[in-house]
Subunit: 356 residues, 5 copies
């Protein structure tokens, strides 16, 4: 996952800053743009065909949320950039879909980068998608990388159905709602990981194998990845709280504090999973070595019992002319008795020493 992100970067090396080069996977679907324009008393939803239509909404007093899916069509993005007056570096960052979460203040608007996680694939691997938010005076522009599906559906429903106070509040509250939706989604992802951790824990006790080790390491790596997505988010949210930008009203601060709390909770959980996985690695390694030792010990004990017995048999297999025992009537049974005694004695000795 990491290497993938890097590969994309090298296409851009050497270009002037602000050059628009899409470095993600090539896609062929058209970029879609949905506009949700609402105020306390109305709410309209449009799928834009010509991206230039955006401009209509920019200066309207109502709150406008333009949601764009797909960043692979550079022409479309350039138009959006012109329409909303975005800085070339912002445009570049929107296209570089391997950004870490960050917040940047461009005066007229705030530029926020988030990472939206998905867990759609069968293998349970986490997929990650970059979401760029542009928070202006009365609009929010959200640009998703364009994987199918997003986590904003509940926010849309709330706006459409006028649930909660979202329609009564400004664009900053909308931006908060989107960030909150992304963070809430982390809890769902963590829950699924939690299930895998629990399953792994059971496997660890019932039937540990080399497979278990790989699963532990896969989960550990996902934790590294998750941490990279969530840690900077904390700074983003606290940055929004502290920032004395006119774009964020004081009343929204209380909600940002809430989402900050959630972020901390996510980080806490990720750290706890890391600690648990480290503990599981220790248990795995020591259970594997315990098992091997148990096998080796029992086998060695068996070998150790029969080696002296074999020697006894060997002694009476010698061909010396003068071996009186061989002619004794009870010589043969006596040797059997001897051998049985030795064997039982060794077993008892091993049992006493708890070696068996």
């Amino acid at each position: 996952m990491v290497r993938h992100a890097l590969k994309k970067r090298s296409k851009k090396a050497g270009l002037p800053p602000g050059s628009l080069v899409h470095i993600g996977d090539k896609k062929t679907e058209a970029v879609t743009a949905n506009v949700l324009d609402y105020a306390e008393d109305h709410c309209s939803e449009t799928a834009l065909i010509e991206i230039e239509q955006c401009i209509v909404y920019r200066d309207m007093p109502s709150i406008t949320w333009v949601d764009i899916e797909g960043v692979h069509d550079i022409q479309v993005l350039e138009k959006i950039g012109q329409c909303f007056g975005l800085h070339p570096l912002v445009m570049e960052d929107i296209l570089n879909t391997d950004q870490r979460p960050k917040i940047e203040d461009y005066g007229d608007y705030l530029y926020i980068v988030l990472r939206m996680l998905g867990n759609g694939s069968e293998s349970g691997d986490i997929s990650s998608e970059q979401v760029s938010l542009i928070l202006g005076k009365n609009f929010v522009l959200s640009i998703q990388e364009g994987a199918k599906g997003d986590v904003f559906e509940p926010v849309r429903t709330r706006i459409r159905s006028n649930k909660g106070q979202i329609r009564m509040l400004g664009a900053d509250y909308l931006a908060y709602s989107l960030i909150d939706a992304v963070v809430d989604n982390y809890f769902i992802i963590l829950e699924k990981i939690g299930e895998r951790v629990e399953l792994l824990e059971e496997t660890l006790i019932s039937d540990p194998g080399p497979q278990t080790l790989h699963l532990i390491h896969n989960l550990k790596r996902e934790m590294i990845y998750l941490r990279k997505s969530v840690w900077p988010l904390r700074e983003v949210v606290s940055g929004m709280q502290r920032r004395d930008s006119a774009l964020i009203r004081e009343s929204t601060g209380i909600y940002l504090r809430d989402v900050y709390d959630h972020t901390i909770q996510v980080i806490d959980t990720v750290e706890t999973f890391r600690d648990m996985l480290s503990g599981m690695l220790d248990i795995y390694l020591s259970s594997i070595s315990n098992r091997t030792n148990a096998v080796m010990k029992v086998l060695t004990v068996i070998a150790t019992i029969f080696i002296p017995l074999t020697w006894i048999a060997g002694v009476y297999g010698m061909n010396f002319k003068n071996m009186p025992e061989l002619s004794w009537v009870y010589g043969y049974p006596a040797v059997w008795v001897l051998m049985i005694f030795v064997a039982i004695g060794m077993v008892i000795y091993f049992k006493i020493k708890k070696w068996w």
Copy 2:
């Protein structure tokens, strides 16, 4: 424990902030609300039947402590929220019983989240319950998750019997007393853990086994969990100290400093236990491997002594026509002497080398 908390969260994903959804375990007991109203010269105790009755106490000059057990009845909590004018986010946090300790200033009141630990179960596992405190001008609202029993009984007794100066001081001193009771309880929990650590240490020397490893790891995990509860508490208490809220009188600062000290001491002890458990893990691993090595060594030595002897016996078991030794009168005893010499020689050699 961690996964459990997460599971509860996903019920809420996508709802607007402030939505009241109880995400803890469903309970059927009724929510109980006890009111303790006191001033220097009087003290009355009432079990509320209708939660709206609270409102009477809110504006009385005497100090009122409303103690609510159970957060699973949303109607009841909504009424409380309206009664005391709590922010929807506070209400939400009260219901989300997996919060980390925190303090939030809402102007009229402070909202404090604590985690109260219990050690009731037979297995010795630590259970954890969220306690929300609302500290207003002359009231304290404490909302427990509702597990049976709490750690506030001594505070109640002190108020009832007018012991100490609690009745003479304000609501902030009551809030301090409740936090102090929670922290004092940590010492009792740590004591019990200390006993288990000590027991484990003895087992480690007398009879280490795979069970010991699991016990060490269980304790380690509990330490991770405890740490998560106690670390943020430190910030909560120091936050209360520093905060220039009119709700906390200067005279209470000295008591908060005291409870802060206790928190640090709890953290110190948790860290010491962690260090001790790490050391015990090292000792366990090395004692297991020492033991296995000891077994293997003795067994290998036995095998090694008998293998050459078996060879000697094998040599004189060969059927060559022309083997002069076989016909010697003292051939057989000589071989016995040889074998005894070889065996003794090897034993001596092994003893000298300290291999046995």
Copy 3:
């Protein structure tokens, strides 16, 4: 040691703050109080019989050092508290003899907690005693837990004999002298530990055994304990330096800087010992495994040489009718030659491969 401290705490859980409960080991010796009253030109020493006599000294212009040994008699301590006007929380902390070092400013006086280490026992374990210092305008109250002996004798001697400038300077210099005496004592303790570390290091090379491991772990645990005593002391001393309390004259600052330096040096040494012990643990583990491997290797080589030889003997022990070798005149010597060659060949091969 840790668990012990905790055990004591639970006696207090639920009591109002400032409740005087001695939670240390019960003792029967009477609490002793010695007063050393001095100025530039005089010095008188009295053993107080009635503790109320203290009050005489409190308001005298001369410097008074009241040294109390034993905190198990609550009546005595209550009288002292009243006499010097100490806050109930201070009284409580004096009795709770498991405090971490700290400094608290109560306006009229500074309350300082130190931990005085002792190394009296035969086993070399470090014992620890709490020393509380109350620094007032012209008095210092030192309250020791009451183990026999302390580290303040040189300070007493200096006052009695008017050595150095101690009599010319104020109570803050006396407090500094006491702290300095405690820190100087740490160097002696560290020296003794240093000797044990060195001894251990020699044992590690000459004769490592399971005992060595336990010694390393014991020392490691003592380092954890020492660290807990010394780390907060650093903050105490730097806190005294920074504090703009009228009780500490500027001229004393230079001496506090000196004792701060010493504290840092103690911490440095503790950290170095920790690093050394970690290194020793590594060496121990690898030397143990080297040794086991050496044993196993030699034994395996011996077994490996004789197994083919035994097989050769076995071959000529077969009872086939038609085995021409058996009838050869030189068959038997030839087999001996063969076996000797095989044995020598294998030894040479093992030597070349450096396996033996």
Copy 4:
């Protein structure tokens, strides 16, 4: 690589500060100096023959970029120093080609040290070259150590072809462009390392060997080295941002923030690789020990099956006169049946126990 850097230093020990001694590898190529002088409307490129010609450009209003390759000719560098009025310590640092990245403000100019990485060699090892930038009012002086090739070609192309806004902006933007080129190059290096990490990961699963261990350690060491180059760079860039030097216009700040972001991303990736390599080391060690254990187990099982069988054969090889079994008609087949049963029984037992 580290030792190499140190070796060079000792030539200088004891000389007065500002002594110009080249401590890098001796080179024989002539030092080359290229001048790129440009303004919005013109752009001229000259290869300087006499270094003193620089002086012409110093005071011209157009932006001048003097790019010097090679620091081994002290005379040339001294002339440059005089020409641009550089401080002797700057001159010294330019020659000491083992500096860590840093920024120093000398009033008239900023002195910036970067490390440019190369990955030219066949073995894939990273080579590192020091680049010193002197940012003056309207000139940038870049001094490279002089390995063939650099990462500034795209910047040159942009100036020549007037692509982007580089010609319109000042010397600070040029300096930013050079730093950006260096950081962009890190992404390419990281990509190549990413490929090696991935390859290593495949080898780790398919065919781990001692070679794998060395590869992991080599990559780990390169990560240490990379980290040393990149970490201080972060401070350099944030230092440029914060610095209230008249040399850096506010409009450039936004670009520096961008390059700062990239630096953070590089650091993040380096840390991720380090974590991945640590994980791979764990997997390697456990896979090696798994493999050895598997071999040992199977071999031990084989030995264990045949040892009892050999004993049975030994028993009936004894020469007792009175061994009735030997005379039984079906004695021999019965022994075979016995041996086969024992062997199969043990195999089944081992299979049940999952030891085989």
Copy 5:
């Protein structure tokens, strides 16, 4: 080395601060004092016989460097202290030759402690000597512990020969030059350590043994020691830079920044060596275990091949009356063929499984 330093300290425990007790190794050589008095136009050098002669230089306008070797003669040092008006605590610290580097401002003068490293002994162990610098208005007093040789010779030469600008600048520049000389010397020490690390690395690959482990641990310990000397130095130099003492001119700041850079570089290198040594320890441990495993595996394989063969031989060594194979004409050769087949089959199987 650590224990040694501690031992010395206990001589001093209990003495009043400022007591002059030399706690280093007793030496018998006389303390030598050399005076180098210089200004832009003159330079005189004197070996003082009577230490009181110092006083002449104290108030002269020219810069005076008094260099004292040996701190074991307390009378001499007391005279120096009186002569330059040094604080008793400074005198004490000069004698306590186990100080960590520090800087203290006494108004009239700065007191700086450095640790000068030596690498003179054959074993390559680092020796360490305390150097105290007293920087006054126009004098520098340097007091060395008195091991033969120091690192200041190049500074002396520069003053004598008027090389560089040292004679033109003040006492603060002289102090800087001495610190710079000490830091430059660290590079030489690190270089020698670098050579040992490289040698060790080669040994690690060619012929690792228990000796290698001890060498790694010795180097690791030296790194701990070096770190203790260098880390606080960083604070000393940055403290000199920041300090608004009239004793340090602004023009010297630029040189202090340079020496600060060097200190950081030394710390960086020490950390890199530590990382490398940790990596080498890992490689050592895994190469040792690889080797042992290789030996065990081959030996086990040999044993495993011959055990079944021995059993076959044993079968035909049985004495059953009725063993038809024994009478077959080709029975004996057939058994040989069988045994050869079995042996070859197993070898092939082992080769296929890559166990051999």
